[in-house]
Amino acid sequence: MSIVVIAIAALLSLAATFGAILGFASVRFKVEGNPLVDQIDGILPQTQCGQCGFPGCRPYAESIANGDDINKCPPGGETTIAALADLLGMEAKPLDEEHGETKDKRVAFIREEECIGCTKCIQACPVDAILGAAKQMHTVIAEECTGCDLCVEPCPVDCIDMLPISTTINDWRWERPSPPLSSTQTIIASDRQGTAAGDNTKPTDDGDQQAA
């Protein structure tokens, strides 16, 4: 009888010790990683422009995962907001004006005769779309430029213009219908506002990418 008791007690104490070790380890070695952040980061446009007030897309994704607003990304526009709302199960909101509005697709242009070759815009560009070297004239690779405005500010001689991309015969599209702002304005019945808005913007965005 006593042998059985000893055996059970030994195993129980061993199990309890191990349980305590694992419990301690799970608290001590806790990992903050969040798979949601990766998903949100995948939706964001990765322009790293910082217009949301965060130093890049990933920090903003982390902030959204912690409950920040989803409408602070001007480059992504309505499409991104709709996709985020869909992922997070939230209502899609119109873009926050404070962080800039979705402008027409634009591209940076350096007036090359005025460029002094200071390389400041190269350092500012989040997508490495500016070519050049110190004391050499710089230029913008139009296909890489996301139109984020970040190079305009650091230029000491103000020789960078943001030019709208002119529409040609190849990329002209019908004007996009204005996205529904409240449920009363929604003409087609839908249980989620974001879906309608997201669908509306998609074809136009494709056209823009072709234009760029």
């Binding site: 055996a7 191990f18 070790i21 380890a25 070695f29």
Partner: protein
């Protein structure tokens, strides 16, 4: 010193756990499809096998033996191995994300690797001391890694070879494993441990 060297040679080549003792066959067949995953699995197994053989030895010598509970060793070792694997996973996850990415998925799988339990039990059966237990576990893991990597490298080549349809996939894998096992029989008698 010579004893320890003999233990290593014995476990890696002569009494190879996979090909001679037929332990740990599931990961041997399961994760040998790609060389990269085989390497990850080998690393993780080496790590866990060495650690768990030490822990099992300690649990047996300092808990079960003094209480006269040697017959409880199997269930105790299962407990020890499960905890060691879990603990290792947690520590690696927080201390080295790089290592975790390499070993990550394989660590929980190793809990069910019968070679791990086999090494712990054989350690007791052979009455290895502390140092010998470590080397026995380490050698077993090296042997496992050796054949797993060899086998996966072979399977990668077989995958692009012109194998007759009935033998495609796991069938040719089994045959290859059998041939490897035969080849490893050539080491028999090299060391007698």
């Amino acid at each position: 010193m010579a004893d320890y060297l003999l233990i290593l040679i014995s476990t890696i080549l002569v009494n190879n756990f996979v090909l001679v003792q037929f332990l740990g066959l599931c990961p041997f067949m399961g994760v040998s499809g790609k060389l990269e995953t085989a390497m990850g699995m080998s690393l993780a197994t080496t790590f866990v096998l060495t650690l768990s053989s030490v822990c099992s030895y300690l649990a047996f010598t300092y808990l079960l033996s003094p209480l006269g509970l040697e017959y409880l060793r199997t269930i105790t070792f299962i407990l020890v191995i499960a905890v060691v694997v879990q603990f290792t996973e947690m520590v690696i996850r927080s201390t080295s994300p790089l290592l975790y990415r390499v070993l990550g998925i394989f660590l929980p799988l190793i809990t069910t690797n019968c070679a791990v339990l086999g090494v712990a039990l054989l350690n007791i059966k052979k009455q290895n001391d502390f140092m010998a237990s470590i080397l026995y576990g380490f050698g077993a893991a090296l042997g496992f890694a050796l054949v797993l990597i060899l086998f996966s490298a072979m399977r990668e080549r077989i995958a692009v070879a012109d194998v007759p349809t009935p033998f495609k996939g796991h069938a040719i894998g089994m045959i290859t494993a059998g041939l490897m096992s035969l080849a490893f029989m050539g080491f028999t008698g090299l060391v007698n441990i």
